[in-house]
């Protein structure tokens, strides 16, 4: 290895850093650290003049390592790696010392903050001595896409990709397309027909030549990595088929919760206590009636059944409040003189037009009553003959602080949405993590909501979190934009910072295989060693921490680099 010639650049970040850290003093003192050839400070290192300074220095002083001491690497690491590339230096021969978030922003003593900055920069210099040039891998992208789940999100994604003239394989577990959406009568807040909306979409799905539809089919295993996935499926009444594709969309949706465990609501015990899904089917069939065929005079709708309750699902199912309002509207149209009661915990009518629906509904003589979701749920009992109704709901009304009885002939339970029965299998097959609520975890909750930590796999629709139709559709289209972008580029870059195994040390215990969250490690039985797929590996380091014989290391974040950095930090005064 050639002798390190290090250039160090201390950034002012305007006044962000310079106000609390004496950047000139830091740059001056750093000059004395071994292997440092150039040490400068500048107002904005990320600006064009700042980057040009680095490029010129690399050429003039034959620098082969660059340390920029500025903000978080999350913000500008990629910027400076590109700078190095421009100067024809390997981008991995770069290290950032964060003296803004870790120093100037969080301290109030200028002298101490300056001292800390020196320590952080020295540590980065010590570390960079051991940096090595790394290679970025490039993979070709198969333009076909696999979509798992034929609900509204999956259908939207499929049509969108197929319209861009790219191949789509749609896998659906049931015998029809549409998912839960197909069982909905009207949408909220506009009360327009779902069937009129969904029907033509399904027709287009069937007719589109770019879409291969596999109904009543399940996925057992997916192999490969971004751009080059493979699976073998066995469609009903058909032979085994091998599919190759470059990207995966997971859109398996959620299922409705069975409210039987909430015994106070008497689901299963009283025939006219039904779930929202059952009521929706009633609406779709055009016949709202009690089990005995008669028309209900008193209808109660209970919100938050199994949602926002630590014993069942802690999250809010997001759509039920507005769906309940929709029911009240539909019931009022069907029965102008019926008594309609809405028992809610909190009225959550988010999204455009939904608060307005609440206002409209409240003007239709619908009685809204509040209950304590945490401590005091309503209970249902059978009514006496002289009560003139089927059931009595005992309610501790929260706003009036009164115990009241609500007469009911039909009770609609707004049940929670929860992860589907096969969600764990799908998560394992696709290499995507689930959270504690059996919802898929996105790559970044705000900035990357449809991608996952596995490159090439996207989760859209309610399987990522309870969602309305417009939100699901938006997510599907967002994922399609990402996928078509990848297909258009034709290749995908995979970062060089991956784990690698020293096969001379590996004992073949396979512990690393069991912990890898990306299924990136396999076992070579012949050589009795673990093998890492560098494209799947995300460089998380879990296997490194676990490996007893220390056979695994990570490019760009090796044990030696870390030790050098830490030593410098610990030796600073």
């Amino acid at each position: 290895m050639e002798k390190p010639r290090i250039g160090v650049y201390v950034c002012w970040c305007g006044t962000n850093i310079a106000k609390m850290v004496d950047v000139e003093a830091v740059a001056e003192e750093i000059k004395n650290v071994p292997n440092v050839v150039v040490s400068r400070n500048y107002k904005y290192m990320c600006s064009d003049p700042g980057q040009d300074m680095i490029i010129n220095d690399i050429k003039e002083f034959k620098l082969n390592r660059i340390v920029v001491s500025a903000c978080s690497p999350r913000i500008h690491e990629i910027t400076f790696r590109k700078t190095l590339k421009k100067a024809e230096l390997n981008p991995y021969l770069f290290q950032m010392a964060n003296i803004r978030e870790h120093d100037s922003w969080v301290h109030t003593d200028r002298a101490e903050a300056t001292k800390k900055a020196k320590a952080l920069v020295t540590a980065a210099i010590n570390r960079i001595n051991y940096h090595e040039p790394l290679k970025e891998l490039s993979v070709d992208i198969n333009p076909a896409t696999l979509i798992i789940g034929g609900g509204i999100s999956g259908i939207t994604a499929a049509l969108e990709i197929a319209d861009a003239d790219k191949k789509v394989y749609m896998i659906e577990k049931s015998n029809k397309l549409g998912g839960y959406t197909a069982d909905i009568d009207l949408t909220y807040p506009h009360l327009s027909s779902v069937q009129q909306m969904l029907g033509p979409m399904i027709e287009r799905m069937k007719k589109n030549k770019n879409i291969d539809l596999f109904l009543e089919t399940e996925i057992k295993e997916i192999t490969g990595y971004i751009g080059n996935f493979e699976t073998i499926i066995t469609p009903k009444n058909d032979n085994e088929t091998k599919l190759s594709f470059g990207n995966i969309v997971v859109s398996i949706g959620l299922r409705s919760w069975d409210p039987s465990p909430l015994e106070n609501y008497g689901y299963g015990k009283f025939p006219d206590v039904i779930t929202s899904v059952e009521f929706e089917k009633m609406l779709l069939s055009g016949n709202i009636a009690k089990k005995d065929g008669s028309i209900p005079k008193n209808i109660a709708i209970i919100h938050c059944v199994g949602s926002r309750n630590k014993n069942y699902h802690e999250y809010c199912s997001r759509t039920c409040c507005t769906v309940a309002l929709k029911y009240a509207n539909q019931l009022r149209s069907a029965f102008p003189n019926a008594s309609i009661y809405e028992l809610f915990a909190d009225m959550r009518t988010m999204s455009k037009g939904c608060e307005e629906l609440y206002t409209i509904t409240s003007r239709k003589k619908v009685v809204f009553m509040m209950f304590d979701q945490e401590n005091d749920l309503p209970g249902i009992r059978k009514a006496n003959i002289n009560d003139n109704c089927e059931m009595i709901i005992e309610l501790n009304e929260k706003r009036s602080r009164k115990f009241v009885e609500v007469p009911a002939d039909m009770v609609i339970l707004m049940v929670a949405m929860e992860g589907r029965e096969m969600v764990k299998e799908v998560a394992q097959i696709t290499g995507v993590s689930l959270d504690g609520n059996k919802l898929f975890i996105e790559k970044h909750p705000k900035l990357d909501p449809v991608a996952t930590t596995t490159s090439g796999v996207y989760t859209v629709g309610s399987c990522q979190g309870p969602k309305s139709i417009p939100d699901s559709v938006s997510q599907a289209r967002a994922a399609v934009a990402r996928i078509l972008g990848t297909i258009a580029r034709g290749t995908a870059q995979v970062a060089g910072t991956t784990a690698h195994i020293n096969i001379n040390i590996c004992c073949g215990c396979q512990m690393c295989i069991s912990v890898c969250p990306y299924s990136a490690i396999s076992f070579d039985a012949e050589k009795n060693v673990s093998v890492i797929n560098e494209i799947l590996c995300q460089g998380c380091g879990t296997c490194v921490a676990l490996c007893r014989p220390n056979a695994i290391d990570i490019w760009g974040c090796s044990n030696r680099q870390m030790t050098a950095e830490l030593t410098a930090l610990l030796l600073s005064d």
């Binding site: 009685v367 009553m369 009164k402 115990f403 609500v406």
Partner: protein, 358 residues
Amino acid sequence: MIERVDATLVNEIEKFGKGGWNDCFHCGKCTAICPLTEQEFLFPRKSYNDIQMGLKDTLVSSFEPWLCYYCGDCSKKCPRNANPGETMMILRRYLISVYDWTGLAGLFYSSLPALIFALILVAISIIGIGFIKQFNTESIMDFGHHFEKFAILGVASLILFPNIIRMFWYTVIKGKIKAPFYAYIKGIWDLILHMFTQKNTLKCEDNTFRWFEHFIIVIGYLLLLFTTIFLNWFSTENAFIIWLGYIVAGVIFIFTFDFVLGRIKKNKEINKFSHPTDWMFVIWLFLLALTAFIVRVFIDTDLINNNLWLYIVHLIILAQWAILIVPFGKWTHFLYRSFAIYFAQIKKSALIKNIAAN
């Protein structure tokens, strides 16, 4: 007995006026700004809840609608335009109908044709009596004088007194207010004070002038009643009584004219919504005083014998007022409001005592 929620109660209350109970979403701003609401009597929001949930027993036993003097601040500030002030007014109408044992109050409030029919019936009866008396001025005026006495006595004993007892039954007995007898004695002074002064109105903001007008009308009305019935204004030769009558009648029709004008202009919150019975109340009081005034002028100028029709018109208005508006209409707020304040004070002291005992 746990109270039963009833979604159909609003249909019943709706007959007494269009309130905004469907718009209220319980932010509580109205209660927060109300100068009259107290810890023990929270309104208007709480009344909204009782209407929306259809808690009839709670509503019927509540004093809150009567404790409101309708300054209209709540209606001005309501973020949903749910009109709390008018809703309290509607509840007062509803309660008047609940207290009334004859059911006529409810009928007249909810059906304008029924009310008009009753007014015409009374007018025809008076004309019929005039016919029987062969339109003899002296005997008709004599009849009118006696009618006034008997109407007051009859309405008070047959309608108003039983209705106050019913109010007591619904609010105090069914409302389970347990207070010692001396509390009722102790509160009588307050009852009289509030009945004749409406002093709580002054707690509302910018309400002094309205209170003054209302106070003058109440005192003027009582004095006019006294002058015509006990001092026999229309037959007296006593100059003092004649002038007293002129002054009180004049004061009433001038001040009620301003009330009528207010309802036409709708410039104040309280005047924005007028139920037919609201119009009737102020117009009839205005006409009552005006016709009385003119009748006395005609007597003083000896024109009455040739213009008996004028006295008959006065008598018709008087009869309609005494038989219909006083027992079954807005007039009763004079009694119910004072009694509600009286009972409410007793309830409050009982509550405070209870809390202290526990």
